[in-house]
Point group: C2
């Protein structure tokens, strides 16, 4: 299985991957076992050190809910993270809470298995789905895309001191270029501001869709690095709003933290597409490390 | 019952109400029926026109979860609103999702009853609780309280054209004074900015606590009024983070909308206490009216 995945990954790097035929799509696939219940395999390809990335898990749950609910697209997904997920088999149990005309709401839980076979819940999600293609094109907004240098002047893993630390499998699957103004932490000089900005793409060239945006909102290094904290910041809760189907092309992601207090911090992410539309907003509450 | 409530309300206006002995506490009381199941009575005192206020409902569910979970305080509460609640009896069904050492997570649903007696789900909540008093005092933050005039220069219901429209019972229970810079909509001259700011208190003088903050985050007029929309904006989903136990005294609330698009908007609320601590943050996704 791992070998097949590696071969698939290699082949997708030679020809551009597409929505529906890419590593991300294969690794977030779910198989209907019985009504509302899906089997999944958490891929080791989306781990940071040993932990499975929270945004990848969100996309996996989002795919199951998109199948279980009458509407196709996640409008608002609220996830509460319970225990750390590990690569390997998982089962997702969904429940349709309400099926309305324009919106529907569902709940989903991802379980893995203890040594004695009992199910351990990893993450619980409550989500409202709709149809992004049914929305009007009207935009009345005060939000501007983040000011940052063009992609070629931003920094990826190959540029000097590893901006994304650890030997993490996920870095091979993402194409992230960070704004130099927010990578001071990588050379021991954090800015002290709770800001992280960068360009985001999937390494195999697959364009963004609403499901991959659920990955994007939790893919950059944490703002806490620029606030001078060194350890990871486990997510307690993350809510993402998908506001528009993203246009093809690279995304810009801006993350800000206004309040690091009492050992917790919030991280607000905005994701912009190549046509300057604000396509996703998210906020998470995370636990600050003691670093 | 209604008469007793009115008498109680009157008595609390002559002497200052306290946390635990106030109209808000009585109207958010829940009665344990069996393990995890609570009876409640949605009070007509917290309605806007005919709809029961979403923040009041959140506080009611928050109280039930505080009883059902091993930790006392809401840290993160995600609510998905399903159908409109009406004054009258309700039942809240809770589930403990995970009970951890520092945090616990639970789910809660509020149901009312159709004419034939069947239960209709109004709102579903997923929440993580902890103990605010166990947090460190460390604050490392870039956030500043909103700039607005002192309370005596802000506008309440008695000042000129009703800043809070309709004959709504909730206006008698809240003491809201809006920043004059964000009430242009009340005189037909909305600013066009997605901003709403004001001072917030409970009319009977009860001080704020984590539960009443769940009311506070959804109590001001919607930012859409200042964006030139006239109708109400029903909440699809609201997530609130309670970051600190609020100090006694009036609260300042700032609400901003960056993205009104495709018939939906987000509203981000920040709540500050009298010691300039950011005590609550919330974000909701709401449906824009066609006004």
């Amino acid at each position: 299985m791992a070998q097949a995945a590696a071969q698939a990954a290699q082949s997708t790097r030679t020809t551009q991957a597409t929505i529906g035929d890419s590593e991300f799509d294969r690794d977030t696939a779910v198989t209907l076992r019985e009504e509302g219940v899906y089997d999944a395999e958490l891929s080791a390809g989306w781990t940071i050190i040993r932990a499975v990335n929270g945004g990848y898990l969100l996309a996996l749950l989002g795919r199951a809910l998109g199948d279980a609910l009458p509407h196709p697209d996640p409008f608002s997904v609220s996830a509460h993270y319970l225990t750390a997920s590990v690569p390997g088999p998982a089962v997702i149990r969904t429940q349709v809470v309400r099926a309305g005309r324009g919106l529907s709401t569902g709940s989903a839980s991802l379980f893995q298995f203890a040594d004695d076979g009992t199910e351990v819940e990893r993450i619980r999600v409550l989500a409202t789905y709709g149809d992004l293609d049914a929305l009007t094109d009207e935009v009345r907004t005060s939000a501007e895309p983040p000011a940052m240098p063009p992609r070629e002047h931003c920094l990826g893993p190959a540029d000097g001191p590893a901006p994304i630390p650890g030997s993490s499998a996920i870095t091979e699957r993402l194409d992230i270029r960070l704004d130099p103004a927010t990578v001071g932490w990588a050379v021991g000089a954090p800015s002290g501001k709770g800001e992280m900005r960068g360009w985001f793409g999937l390494a195999d060239g697959r364009d963004a869709d609403p499901l991959s945006l659920l990955l994007t909102v939790d893919a950059l290094p944490p703002t806490s690095f620029e606030l001078g904290l060194k350890g990871w910041t486990p997510t307690v809760e993350l809510t993402a709003h998908i506001r528009c189907r993203p246009a093809p092309g690279p995304l810009r992601v801006s993350i800000t933290t206004r309040n690091l207090a009492g050992g917790f911090l919030e991280e607000d992410a905005e994701v912009w597409d190549s046509t300057d539309r604000l396509v996703a907003q998210s906020r998470q509450l995370a636990k600050a490390s003691r670093g």
